[in-house]
Amino acid sequence: MAPKSSNSVSPTAASNALDSLWRSYVDTTPSRLKLIDAFLVFIMLSGAIQFVYCVLVTNFPFNAFLAGFSSSVGQFVLTASLRSQVNPQNREQFKEVSPERAFADFALGSIVLHFFVFNFLG
């Protein structure tokens, strides 16, 4: 398609798409996954605040910033991994990982991560 027409259409189309995305998300997602998503949003906010603080104020104890920020990032991706592992839609991709096993993996990963975080805080 021509780029011109797509440019003119995109704002409304995008907002429509976003709207339907949100509705589809609210309707189809199980409540357990919504809980995980709430946690993910919280972690993201916490990471964003740390990053903004680092950029605006100081990065002086750089290891402390890295420890805090990578604890956010690491916990985020571990939780996102848990989310995709327990998501019923992905059942056929994770044949060997039951939801219980996924949670145990998540717990182990988080413990190891936070061991290194606290070691690195200094």
Partner: protein, 790 residues
């Protein structure tokens, strides 16, 4: 369906039990062979640390064993890099020392009081057994357990790996290759299962690898490259997301705990690929999630908006970081892998190491023998199957081949993948030619001689219905196997074995295959012959080329008995026993670790080449005349100058042969005072004989090497056996140095730096005054004699 060989009837459980027993026996035999083939040096010579770098590792491990971990971690070594000192805790990879420290403490806890030296000497053979096991596990993920066993036996004795892991070679690579293979195994496992558990294990072993070897950067770039290629092939799955994210998040944070690595994972270009792929995976995973919620047309608009936004954002971030200078460019050591001329032009100290030269063809064959020829076949077989883990092996093969071609020492990282690929090829060959099933051939059914060959009394071709639910690694294999079983209901013992070992070697195609026993026997026998020859070759190479401690030189007497030249230790122990403890020894950096380890004296420079200027100072002192060098020596409190001199017995690795690198390194800092061309003859030759250039003849290195050498020949023409040149009849004289010690075969020569003259004169003036007086006293004699003659 007929079989080529009659087979006995055995219950499936018996087969499964026997195969697992055989597997255990095979693995323990492989471990035994891997350990035993590394002991040539210990048996032929003695249990001693080899080479140069291991001496430092050994010294550090001794500190760890004697004083404990905290002392080791905060160890400041004032005797290395003499005026500067070295913060050891922050400038080493402590994994090797920590490993042997742990083994040492466990053994002592068990009341086995083993000396720390023996732990250090035998660490590498021990870990080579573990490497064989890790390679077995890795290859098992790619094909099956039988291929894994073949790969384990290859890497157990492959000379390319033995060269850096013989007993006494206490270097980082000793444990690093095990960690490399195990990290790769856990990564493949994490990717296959989509398990965060294996991702975390991979991260923990990655951390261990970072703590052990600088080559961890290879893993840091291999895994992201694999993930990126999978993304580009359209093979994104949530399993990839889980595996990569858990590995990267935990692994990167953990790698920053090693003080020597520090903030590098977020600040240098070597680590940016991993970060970039991590970000990309987050985007892809998010868009994948969005796609599951909206229709495809809406998704396309969303994707476009998101891509434009993230592209602008990502570009801005990278530009900002580069402008602020936050991300450091490639370091010279890694950059020289891409631009192979770089090191020679700008960093002579990297180019001066012999291991950093490009690899020649014969060394590929010498290190890998027949494996290098079937390595491409294994890679092609990976292409044929091309599951996610095969993509990994292909990338690994390509990258490691390139690096091994650029640098000799990186042959070490190539060896594992060569063993794995060669094992896949070998195992496929055996699967094909050891499969006893005869394919149906309607045209030639009557002409195939089947049972007549064998004189066994067993009933051949009997039907044994197989119902063993063998554990299948992948669904695709399971399906294949079910197909195979459906196609061949009359399966015999061979397919039971194949089931138990996880082989899916049963061909379902009926139109082609191997007919008759002869064709099978010929191919298998040929290949077994090649493999036996590989064993012979490996043993020969190991015993002849890689098992000589460089500390002790050996030669053969005419009657075949061994003659050991032990000049190094003779000289180092002279230093240890006959000099004050704080006497600084200046030598070229190659011998720094050995002097610190064996002579226990402070050195000016050593093998950890972190300060190029300091090394150039030593180079300048060696390359300039005595008058220039003397103030340098005095300023650095040098008491002894040590040079290695091989002209008497033809030891080619001596300092005159390394002299050009000293000149080049010094020239890089002081181009006005030291210049390389002035050390050549007018015709551009590097000579030490009569025609040697004046700069050469006046240099400290030349003078200290050849001092009093001519006297050995008692008036005959002295000859340099390394450079095959005739030396001048009158040797050099020394004014500012005096000979303190020369070892039995003149390999190590130690000179004391003279103190100030008592009368405050320049030492040269004082010397010529002394000599002049003698000459004055002699001259009248001559005159008198002349008078008398007249």
């Amino acid at each position: 369906m007929p079989d080529a060989i009659p087979l006995p009837r055995v219950a499936p459980e018996t087969v499964a039990n026997t195969t697992s027993l055989l597997r255990i026996i095979a693995l323990s035999l492989i471990s035994g062979a891997a350990i035993a083939s590394r002991l040539f040096a210990v048996i032929n010579f003695e249990s001693i640390i080899h080479e140069f770098d291991p001496w430092f590792n050994y010294r550090a491990t001794r500190v760890l064993a004697a004083k404990g971990f905290y002392e080791f971690w905060n160890w400041f070594d004032p005797t290395a890099w003499y005026p500067l000192g070295r913060v050891v805790g922050g400038t080493i990879y402590p994994g090797l020392m920590a490993t042997s420290g742990v083994i040492y403490n466990i053994l002592h806890g068990l009341n086995l009081p083993v000396d720390i030296r023996n732990v250090c000497v035998l660490l590498a053979p021990g870990f080579s057994a573990l490497t064989a096991w890790a390679t077995y596990m890795f290859t098992k993920e790619l094909k099956d357990a039988s291929a894994g066993l073949i790969a384990a036996s290859f890497i157990g004795i492959a000379p390319g790996y033995i060269s850096r892991s013989v007993a006494g070679s206490y270097d980082n690579e000793a444990i690093a290759i095990f960690l490399l293979m195990f990290t790769f195994f856990t990564w493949i496992k994490a990717l296959k299962l989509g398990s965060a558990f294996f991702g975390t294990i991979a991260a923990v072993f990655y951390f261990y690898m970072v703590a052990a070897w600088g080559g961890y950067v290879f893993i840091t770039n291999m895994i992201p490259l694999h993930a990126l290629v999978l993304l580009l092939m359209g093979r994104y799955t949530n399993r990839l997301y889980v595996a990569y994210s858990s590995w990267y998040a935990v692994g990167t944070l953990s790698s920053m705990q090693v003080p020597f690595v520090g903030f590098q994972p977020v600040r240098t270009s070597e680590h940016m690929a991993a970060l970039g792929v991590f970000g990309l995976l987050q985007l892809v995973a998010f868009s994948d999630l969005v796609r599951s919620h909206v229709g495809s047309k809406q998704f396309r608009t969303l994707l476009r908006v998101a891509l434009v936004a993230s592209g602008i954002l990502g570009g801005a971030v990278i530009v900002l970081l580069t402008l602020k200078g936050w991300i450091a460019p490639w370091t010279g050591r890694f950059y020289s892998l891409w631009d192979t001329e770089y090191a020679k032009k700008y960093i002579p100290i990297i180019a001066s190491v012999s291991e950093h030269q490009p690899t020649a063809w014969p060394s590929f064959f010498m290190d890998l023998h027949v494996l290098i020829t079937i390595f491409p076949a294994g890679v092609i077989l990976c292409f044929k199957e091309l599951r996610d883990e095969h993509v990994f092996v292909i990338i690994y093969a390509v990258m490691a081949s390139y690096f091994a071609g650029v640098m000799v020492r990186l042959m070490l990282t190539l060896t594992p993948v060569v063993c794995v690929a060669a094992a896949i090829a070998t195992s496929t060959l055996f699967d094909t030619y050891l499969d006893v099933h005869e394919p149906e051939d309607p045209s030639a059914e009557n002409s195939v001689p089947v049972v007549t060959v064998s004189g066994e009394s067993h009933v051949g071709g009997t039907n044994v219905t197989v119902t063993t639910p063998a554990p299948a690694p992948t669904p695709s294999k399971k399906a294949k196997k079910a197909q195979a079983q459906a196609a061949a209901p009359a399966s015999s013992i061979a397919s039971t074995i194949a089931e138990a070992t996880g082989t899916a070697g049963v061909t379902t195609r009926q139109d082609r295959g191997v007919f008759g026993l002869g064709s099978r026997l010929v191919v298998v026998a040929l290949w077994v012959y090649m493999l036996l020859f590989f064993v012979v070759h490996s043993t020969w190479v190991t015993s002849n080329a890689y098992s000589s401690p460089s500390v002790v030189l050996s030669s053969r007497n005419p009657d075949g008995s061994q003659h050991i030249i032990d000049d190094f230790r003779e000289a180092y122990y002279w230093l240890r026993q006959n000099t004050p403890e704080d006497a600084v020894v200046m030598s070229w950096w190659d011998y720094g670790y050995q002097i610190a380890g064996m002579a226990d004296r402070p050195t000016m420079v050593d093998n950890n080449t972190w300060n190029n200027t300091h090394i150039a100072t030593v180079g300048k002192a060696m390359a300039s005349s005595e008058e220039v060098a003397y103030p340098i020596l005095r300023k650095h409190d040098v008491s002894y100058v040590l040079v290695i001199f091989g002209s008497l017995i033809g030891y080619s690795g001596d300092d005159i042969n390394k002299f050009l690198w000293m000149i080049r390194i010094a020239q890089g800092i002081w181009p006005d005072e030291v210049s390389e061309p002035s050390f050549f003859t007018p015709r551009g030759e590097y000579k030490v004989d009569e025609q040697a250039s004046p700069a050469m003849k006046n240099s400290v290195m030349y003078k200290t090497s050849y001092y009093r050498f001519a006297e050995l020949y008692g008036g005959n023409q002295p000859q340099d056996r390394v450079r095959n040149q005739n030396l001048p009849m009158k040797g050099p004289t020394l004014d500012y140095l005096e000979e303190a010690f020369t070892s039995e075969n003149w390999i190590v020569r130690i000179y004391a730096v003279k103190g100030d003259d008592e009368l405050g004169r320049d030492l040269k003036v004082a010397n010529s005054f002394n000599e002049g007086k003698k000459r004055k006293r002699g001259r009248p004699l001559v005159r008198r004699r002349a008078v008398a003659a007249v």
